[in-house]
């Protein structure tokens, strides 16, 4: 047994309202850069729907993930190592920009520059790839809220698997949202596909990262990842992916997507797993046994033997304790309500989902029956084949039994807790009917419904004795970096060349630029206002007082200690 720790996430799909806040904040944090315009490390898909990139789940087409060869051994679906190398010059299964979407902006300037004319000027969309005018016909969430679903949803690869006779009549339509980030798999096929060995799994917390200095842009990882969560930065020619916000995780903060989640549906915590058992578990022959295999790889953090082994492999004591309090472990193995996304890809994904009960609840309440009654709900779960089969294709390789079990537990929690909330005698037969105890159901309710911040996120910070090596803890002056704070700019090979800049330095530069730039952020025709927090109290900085008559702007009276280039914000 080789115990390793893994930072994992669970998302409670019942609570997702599809607001895309996670996507937007993630994009603002990580991918608001040239070359990454089309990239969403976090995206929210409406299901049924094609997803992003389009039909990425159709592995017969995209060849992502692992499969078993004739001898029952794990191999990359896209081909073995030699084939991988032979197809390096033109990666045949890589989605094109059209499969994601062509990013665009609008020429807003026309709105103010257009000459006097009969019709109101409009801002036309301009492609960020070609720079030319374009007509928008697809985006990362084009089929949001089932938009155009009669036309688009039939090509949802998951829906196609469910059954041939599924008709997407609107009366039968069900819908839920699926937020997706990188799965930070235990058996990552992206890393296995990388010819350069640039993609690695951090041995401390299992976060999968791309070494930007080692990546050579062979693009094999894009094909290798069945979730299509590795993106090619077309400006720098390097692969980039969700980082699980490691700079935040290292200091004990949840990821940006989780922190900003309006529905508070994300859970982050540690799980301990047996690294030696991963390969065997991923090689189980029957797709439908993969769920159990994956559950069994995770180790019980309360088991004394596991604790002993964990300590032996150098996992710090407070990490073990965090693993014991982990909401992830509880949701996966204690309450058994969380399921992995597409276990049949055999990558052992570590972002799990609690399937949504709401399609079932909605269906029951539409009939006028009591949608909180466990009997009604249980009957509906059995009766409503389409949602259950669909969820099963997503989470259990098509096996409906585990999905039904999870939905029943959620339904049982609903009706059991209703009795308590209404002050009625709790009906202990309800939890018993799903193999739980009342106490357990209450704990689950606490975790899922109340979802306190400190119960949702149990993130042990990285260790202080390692802090010096951590990028974001500025234990040494972050400006002492090669090239110094004056770095800005790029090397002689155009942008993207030169050494990587620490995030702290980048932030420093961005802030400085925003505050001192002469363009839009600093309109010439507007007065400046002084940031008093940065004023040292000496002298008269520019903009503190309105310009004296006859004294041109830009030539204020200066006194000692005044920094004319100091931080000033433009007036809105």
């Amino acid at each position: 047994m080789r115990v390793m720790a893994q930072m994992a996430m669970v998302m409670n799909l019942d609570k997702c309202i599809g607001c895309h806040t996670c996507s937007v904040t993630c994009k603002q944090t990580w991918t608001n850069r040239s070359g990454m315009e089309y990239v969403w490390f976090n995206n929210v898909e409406t299901r049924p729907g094609q997803g992003y990139p389009r039909t990425y789940e159709d592995q017969e087409r995209w060849q992502g993930g692992w499969t078993l060869n004739k001898r029952g051994r794990l191999k990359l679906k896209a081909g073995n190592r030699l084939k991988n190398l032979m197809t390096i010059f033109s990666s045949p299964k890589m989605p094109s920009i059209q499969d994601y979407y062509e990013p665009w902006t609008y020429d807003y300037e026309t709105l103010t520059n257009a000459p006097l004319q009969e019709h109101t000027p409009v801002a036309r969309p301009k492609s960020l790839i070609t720079g030319k005018e374009m007509s928008i016909s697809w985006s990362a969430n084009w089929d949001d809220d089932l938009a155009g679903s009669t036309e688009l949803a039939p090509s949802d690869p998951v829906l196609q698997k469910v059954s041939d006779k599924v008709k997407l009549e609107f009366e039968q339509t069900f819908m839920f949202y699926l937020p997706r980030i990188c799965e930070h798999c235990l058996n990552p096929s992206c890393a296995a596909s990388c010819p350069s060995g640039a993609i690695y799994k951090r041995s401390e917390d299992g976060i999968v990262l791309v070494d930007q200095d080692t990546c050579r842009g062979w693009r094999k990882c894009v094909t290798g990842c069945p979730y299509k969560k590795i993106y090619f930065n077309h400006r720098t020619g390097k692969a980039e992916k969700c980082t699980f916000c490691f700079p935040r995780i290292e200091v004990g903060l949840p990821t940006v997507c989780a922190e900003t989640c309006v529905g508070r549906l994300r859970y982050i915590g540690l799980v301990l797993y047996d690294a030696d058992a991963v390969l065997e578990a991923a090689s189980v022959e029957d797709d439908r046994k993969l769920l159990d295999a994956q559950r069994s790889v995770l180790l019980d953090p309360d088991d004394p033997e596991v604790i002993r082994e964990a300590e032996r492999s150098g996992i710090p004591r407070d990490w073990i304790e965090a693993a014991q309090r982990s909401p992830i472990w509880s949701l996966i193995n204690r309450y058994e309500v969380a399921l992995p996304l597409h276990p049949e890809y055999r990558t052992m994904p570590m972002v799990w989902y609690i399937p949504p009960l709401s399609p079932v609840v909605d269906a029951v309440s539409e009939t006028g029956e009591d949608a909180e009654n466990s009997g009604n709900l249980f009957a509906a779960i059995e009766h409503l084949r389409i949602p259950v089969e669909y969820l099963a294709e997503l989470f259990t390789a098509g096996d409906t039994a585990p999905v039904t079990a999870v939905l029943k537990r959620l339904a049982a929690m609903r009706s059991y807790m209703r009795d308590i909330n209404l002050g009625r005698e709790p009906d202990e037969s309800i939890p018993a009917s799903v193999g739980m105890e009342g106490e357990q159901v209450y704990d689950m309710y606490r975790l899922l419904a109340l979802a306190k911040y400190e119960e949702r996120y149990v993130i042990p910070p990285a260790h202080a004795e390692q802090a010096h090596g951590l990028e974001e803890l500025a234990t040494e002056c972050s400006l002492d970096y090669e090239g110094g704070p004056g770095m800005g700019g790029w090397g002689p090979f155009g942008e993207g060349s030169g050494g990587t800049t620490p995030i702290a330095v980048e932030n420093f530069q961005a802030l400085k630029q925003r505050q001192t730039t002469n363009t839009l952020a600093d309109p010439e025709d507007k007065e400046k206002r002084v940031n008093l927090l940065n004023w040292d109290g000496k002298g008269r900085p520019e903009g503190l007082f309105p310009p004296a008559p006859g004294n041109e702007r830009g030539a204020p009276e200066r006194m000692d200690g005044t920094d004319p280039g100091g931080e000033t914000d433009p007036k809105p």
Binding site: R235, G469, E476
Partner: protein, 247 residues
């Protein structure tokens, strides 16, 4: 008799270019690992790339191996293992023509693609354009050599250019041999040297990243946070307790 010009062209220039090549790569790798990439444009366009890129790359790999054979291995060695002049000739011209043809066709597709596909063209830097120009000239001159050396006239490069080329690395200089070579051979050699000098400053550096190690390394790479994170080693005097000496 070697003139000063011959000395400059066939001794000074080659050494200068090769020095730039070697030192340039070392410097680029030290300074610009982040910029060391193939800079693939497949995301923008893959229909033309699908044909052009493999044709060009496999072609140029074969051409490279041909050069290793032709320039690197002395005539006496091949003769010693019983390869007759005629056999070698047929082999070299046959394989060389196929490889050269693939390379040129692939390159034509790739250049056409680069010029006509909007996003690809706008992602092309000035350095790329210069590199494409020089590379195209080198390849076309190389192809011309096959014609000039075998069909139009006859020039046995294995007793001329090859000896000079090996001499450059063995410090056994024969500028006179190059001075006697047909013009296309001289031009091919010189432009190739120019290409070598440009090499470290272009995207061609990806040639040195051929990931052969992929065939043997374990599928999943684990890395510890401590030694790599932050991209910088601790400053001198700030090593953690127990850290080993960096030598």
């Amino acid at each position: 008799m070697t003139t000063t010009l011959d000395l400059v062209l066939w001794v000074v220039v080659p050494y200068a270019c090769l020095a730039v090549f070697a030192v340039g790569h070392y410097w680029r790798y030290r300074y610009d690992k982040f910029g060391w990439t193939t800079l693939s444009s497949q995301l923008y366009e893959s229909r033309l790339l699908r044909w052009g890129s493999p044709l060009f790359h496999f072609g140029i790999l074969a051409v490279f191996l041909g050069h290793v054979m032709g320039l690197g291995i002395p005539k006496s060695w091949t003769a010693a293992v019983g390869v007759s002049e005629a056999l070698y000739h047929v082999m070299a011209v046959g394989v060389g023509a196929v490889a050269g043809f693939c390379t040129v066709v692939g390159m034509a597709i790739l250049i056409y693609r680069r010029r006509t596909v909007g996003p690809v063209f706008s992602a092309t830097t000035r350095m790329d354009k210069l590199m494409y120009l020089v590379l195209a000239i080198v390849i076309l001159l190389g192809l011309a050599n096959t014609v000039v050396g075998n069909i139009v006239g006859h020039y046995d490069y294995r007793e001329g250019v090859s000896v000079w080329f090996r001499g450059v690395f063995l410090f056994d200089l024969h500028p006179a041999l190059m001075a006697e070579a047909p013009f296309t051979f001289q031009a091919h050699g010189l432009t190739a040297m120019l290409l070598f000098a440009l090499w470290p400053f272009t995207r061609l550096v990806h040639v040195f990243s051929v990931p052969v190690g992929y065939l043997w390394r374990p599928y999943i790479v684990y890395r510890s946070r401590e030694d790599r994170l932050g991209g910088q080693a601790p400053r001198r005097g700030w090593d953690r307790v127990g850290a080993r000496y960096r030598r």
